[in-house]
Amino acid sequence: MKTVTRPVAMAACVAAVAAMGAVLLVPQAATEPEERAFVTHSGAVVRTTGEILDPLYTASDVEFDPMEYLREFHGGRVSALPDGRTLREFTIIAEDDRVMEISPGVFYNVWTYNGTVPGPTIRATEGDIVRVRFINNGDKDHTIHFHGIHPAGMDGVFEPVGRGGGEFTYEFEAAPVGVHPYHCHIMPLEEHIVHGLYGAFIVDPAEPREEADEMVMVLNGFDTDFDSENNFYAANTVPFYYQHHPIEIGLGELIRIYVLNMVEFDPINNFHLHGNLYDYYPTGTQRVPSAYTDMITLSQTERGIMEFRYDYPGPYMFHAHKVEFSEKGWSGIFLVSDGQ
């Protein structure tokens, strides 16, 4: 029998060690990649071993909750003034260093009022005194410019509030009745608006509107690559959010939407409702609707109030009928429930 020589034994050992090393160092190559599936626009199911890039149908956690924002109204700290009128005090803090995941996997530097885009929805009744303590914790000058009726010195244009903690108190009587935008008015203005410094300001009539399920929809867009064209559109910031998180509403219940168009770059935006029509009150200033329609067109900062009820249960889309916008995120679903 042939004896195993020392060099052969050495070579065998080295080979064995090398083989073990190879197995240990490249375990990925040995394991079978996991398969996942996703659904296309047309309903087809596609399987992949890779990563799914799907802002449309995949629910995802974002730092801002559009569902919470939808029905969140801030009335401020309420107290009575000596003359009997109501004082509503708000504190709004501007920042410009936050990075938000505005769409799954896409990160963008947003400039915020109280940490979100849009900023908080401020609500008062006509005749109330609104007092807003504004603190600028950003690295740039900012202001709040309210649309509505107020003295020139409260207009938030000629009184830049300094960076790093500057303060200003805006005070005026809430007027007129309706829904209005507020936004920063520092130059370059477009830059300050498109980064997210805007929100809705609602003035209720002294004689309240009919009880309803009320919502705010700020129609906005984001130009994430700074080419003066929006890469994303949405109702309330997050593209496709209400499409994969349908808004549940009651059958026959009165729905009131305060809608406000803050999209820049594109001259118009619009709002189309499926399976229904709505009474539309431009700017919300009149009690008589201007139209009974399923389609309104809104220019920059144009806004109004929509009222409707659904007669049949089920899912109904609402979206921009400028389809480019809806295919880039501005679309959602109302899920009408009959309580079953």
Binding site: A44, S103, G105, K328
Partner: protein, 379 residues
């Protein structure tokens, strides 16, 4: 011990590299912003699906966040994954019922919101390695490569009967053709680099120069080796010419295949016509050195195959798996090979007693360049 001393600078250089690259030494300029960069290298139209091949050609890692078709967001999947290190590649699969013949723009948005796009002039079904494709490749390979070169070789008997002045002019004409080919191929390499964003990732221009120089040196070695092996000088030259043209044709084939795969049908057929004409004159360049040598029909066929067949391989590679970096390197390498062939021809002609500064050579070389320039403009 001496050998160990040679390692000292290497070890010190490695230590310096570690220091520079390690976090913390503060060698990055303050406020440094490194922008991400990706290249969409290929867009394929499969059954109910568009596939984009994406490569990270920048200097930082990137994450693919979403895909769009004509600037409209679509659900998609990145395989093997969406996170790409430097030069890493992913295939983004976008289920989409595309329409044949229509133009599309495929966009990829990264995690920082930057969108990159590639336009496709007309959607055509992805070429697959089936019988129809193979017959197309064989037809193109034959029409563009082997047949035109063989036609050019048919000038050989005529060249053989020429007087010495006219023969010098014909050889110089071949050199002029080759000089044009070298310049043209180098330009194409640089164009590929520019079009596919290879400059930032691969230092495209110097990659081309380096590839050309390396192949020049390799061909120099090969020609010396052939001579040492006892090959006749003219035959060796003809083989080198054929090899150089073959490399050039490989690159041209890539261009045809890529154009066909990208749906640029008109562009692809223009390339086919241009290259076929081009190759007739290149057949002449192969025939000229061996006009008076004893080369059998088999030898001539071999030369035609060496110069012409690579078109087929190039077309297949370009159509089925186009790689911009490989195309740029191949084209530049062909330029280097052709320049070496010109140098070999020049020294061989001098050894044959032909004056390189004589009127026949100067006129012939000029005519060669001018001819191919005319072909490039007219075809």
């Amino acid at each position: 011990m001496r050998a160990a001393q040679a390692l000292v600078p290497l070890a010190l250089a490695a230590a310096l590299a570690v220091y520079v690259l390690a976090p913390g030494p503060g060698l990055e300029p303050p406020g440094l912003v490194v922008l991400p960069e990706i290249t969409i290298e290929q867009v394929e139209f499969a059954d109910g699906e568009i596939r984009a091949s994406v490569r990270n050609t920048g200097h930082v890692d990137v994450s693919i966040a979403q895909a769009d078709v004509n600037d409209r967001i679509q659900p998609s999947a990145a395989e093997p994954g969406s996170r790409l290190g430097r030069l890493a590649q992913a295939t983004v699969r976008i289920p989409y019922e595309w329409n044949a013949g229509e133009p599309y723009e495929i966009g990829i948005t990264l995690d920082d919101g930057t969108r990159f796009a590639r336009a496709v002039e007309a959607a055509v079904p992805a070429i697959t390695a089936d019988a129809q494709t193979l017959s197309y490749l064989v037809a193109v390979g034959a029409c563009v490569g082997v047949v035109p070169v063989a036609i050019g070789l048919a000038w050989r008997p005529a060249i053989a009967r020429l007087r010495s002045g006219a023969r010098a002019a014909v050889l110089a004409f071949a050199m002029g053709l080759l000089a044009f080919v070298a310049a043209d191929t180098m330009r194409e390499s640089l164009e590929v680099s520019a079009e596919w964003g290879l400059d930032s990732a691969y230092n495209g221009t110097l990659m081309a120069v380096t590839a050309a120089a390396l192949v020049f040196l390799a061909m120099q070695w090969a020609s010396a080796a052939m001579r040492r092996a006892g090959a006749q000088a003219p035959v060796a030259i003809a083989v080198l010419v054929a090899a150089g043209i073959g490399m050039h044709n490989l690159g041209e084939g890539l261009a045809i295949g890529a154009a066909a795969a990208l749906g640029q049908a008109a562009f692809a057929s223009t390339l086919v016509v241009g290259l076929a004409l081009h190759n007739v004159t290149e057949g002449l360049a192969i025939a000229a050195p061996v006009a008076r040598s004893r080369v059998g029909l088999a030898g001539l066929a071999g030369l035609a195959a060496l110069a012409g067949l690579p078109v087929m391989a190039g077309t297949a590679a370009g159509a089925l798996a186009f790689s911009p970096a490989a195309a740029a390197v191949l084209l530049a390498a062909a330029a280097g090979a052709v320049v070496q062939v010109i140098a070999s021809m020049a020294s061989w002609m001098r050894s044959e007693g032909i004056s390189l500064s004589g009127a026949p050579v100067l006129a012939g070389a000029g005519a060669g360049m001018a001819t191919l320039y005319a072909v490039s403009v007219l075809a």
